[in-house]
Amino acid sequence: MSDPIILNGAPIAQPERSYLEPVVEEPGEATTRRFFLGAAGAAGLLYAAALAYPIYRYLASPEEMASEATAITEVTLKDAQKLPLASVLMFKFGTAPAMLIHHEDGRWVALSAVCTHLGCTVQYEPQADRIHCACHGGVYNPYTGANVSGPPPKPLKLFKVAVNDTGVEVSRT
């Protein structure tokens, strides 16, 4: 395609048409034009994909790392066997907060610490012998994780606990 050369002073030889109007083609020109537009469109899409893919993967990196972490099925809490009675140890199971409770009667319980209502981190209250969520007043049973009162729709997830001389092992049931 050659450019319309303008000699200085001469009026611009471009038609003053609106760009919204369709281009009038001569017969026979239509197929080459359509082919060119198709090829240019395909090349443009390829470029867009080649740019978008690495950028998407780059931005999604933490998400992918997190999903690798959630795949964890077992956590060893070193020296956690020394946890005093009627107290709690907060820890991360993968990426989510969890709690290890050593009850007054010596029982060990490990639970997810994410409220099933809207995802706040819950708190163990030994005096009241309950697990309480400060956000909307949800209450759970500290032995079973069952939702007792308030808005929580489901119980807290219970983990398996194994205590030995060097620490506590928490695993998915």
């Binding site: 050369i5 200085n8 690495p54």
Partner: protein
């Protein structure tokens, strides 16, 4: 209502409020001169494209970069942990170099086409200011990974403001944030690089681009000498724009190749107790001034050499910036020729000192 009438009435509604048709009419009537040197007209546009790439890749790096004490660790994470982080960092670093290169080509082509003459003096001045800001962008960005090279480059680079008589040491420690390059330096260079410099650069760039629209492309004196009827031009829309965009696409391809085939390296973490690595040298765009200072230091040893070097730089740059007020004549006369030879001298001095600089790396 058909789609067409709907589109038209929507266009009319917006047009009435924003004056789109005036812009469209302006674009339709804009032309670009055609002559033997037309190729050089693309370099301003290429510089603009590379600047846009810098904004884009810069924001992407900002997503994971942490200035201060964790700077090196976060760049290590971007380079080796995040998917394609190496590519984005490599693209940002390569574009920085290509950007300075494109600006230099743009500047020298403007200079030798004498496009700084009346009425384009402000175009030249704003362009020089943009080059100045761009080199501070380069200098501040170079420190941010906080590896060995960036540490020593910043240490050495800050010796230049430190050599200014009386106030120099205060300026240098103000920039450094203390007596030595440290996490405080990274933190303030970061603020400079991502907030202050863009805030200065963008209005200057808008002014520069507005001036180009106002005065159009300058023709070289050889073209201006021709009678008006013999000068040729092409419409900007769509003919020149199409070529411009083709150059952008070529730039993108060159950049993609460089960034992926030659990924930008990350050195060892900066440590003031580790000696400078052998063969350490400034980036190519700082090689010439570095070498000039070194040569002058050899002729005039000690502090007098440093001050003479700075003085020479200041005078040289001032002459270069003020050239539109010296070489004003429309028919190229004595002054026009003098400016031309000054330009050739500047190119020769830049190239020669750069070559000597690389030659003498040990």
């Amino acid at each position: 209502m058909t789609t067409k009438t709907l589109t038209n009435s929507l266009y009319d509604w917006v047009d009435e409020r924003l004056g789109l048709s005036e812009l469209a009419a302006f674009a339709r009537h804009k032309t670009v001169p055609v002559h033997a040197q037309s190729f050089w007209y693309y370099w301003g546009g290429i510089s603009l494209f590379l600047f846009l790439v810098q904004c884009f890749t810069g924001v992407l790096l900002l997503v994971y970069y942490r200035p201060g004490a964790e700077a090196y660790e976060s760049v290590r994470q971007i380079t080796f942990v995040m998917h394609f982080g190496w590519l984005i960092r490599s693209a940002h670093a390569w574009t920085a170099n290509l950007f300075i290169f494109a600006i230099m080509i743009h500047m020298f082509s403007v200079y030798f086409m004498k496009a700084y003459r009346n009425p384009r003096e402000f175009g030249w001045l704003s362009g020089m200011a943009l080059l100045g800001v761009a080199s501070v962008f380069g200098f501040s960005g170079y420190l941010l990974p906080m590896d060995e090279l960036s540490y020593f480059a910043t240490k050495v680079g800050l010796q230049i403001p430190a050599a200014v008589p009386f106030i120099g040491p205060a300026i240098a420690s103000m920039l450094r944030g203390g007596p030595d390059v440290s996490e405080f330096t990274v933190q303030r260079f970061f603020a400079l690089h991502v907030v202050v410099l863009p805030a200065v650069f963008l209005p200057l760039l808008a002014f520069h681009l507005w001036l180009v629209q106002r005065h159009g492309n300058a023709s070289p004196p050889s073209e201006e000498a021709k009678p008006a009827a013999e000068r040729k031009s092409i419409p900007f829309m769509p003919n020149f724009l199409r070529k411009d965009l083709a150059m952008w696409l070529i730039s993108l391809n060159v950049l993609a190749l460089l960034a992926s085939v030659f990924p930008w390296a990350l050195g060892r973490q900066a440590d003031s107790l580790v000696p400078a690595p052998a063969g350490i040298h400034p980036e190519w765009y700082f090689m010439s001034p570095f070498e000039m200072l070194k040569l002058l230091g050899a002729i005039l040893p000690g502090e007098s050499g440093e001050i003479a070097g700075l003085l020479l730089f200041t005078i040289g740059i001032a002459l270069w910036v003020l050239i539109p007020f010296y070489d004003t004549g429309k028919p190229s006369g004595q002054r026009g020729r003098a400016a031309h030879y000054f330009g050739l001298l500047a190119v020769f001095a830049l190239l020669a000192t750069t070559v000597i600089g690389y030659w003498t790396i040990r």
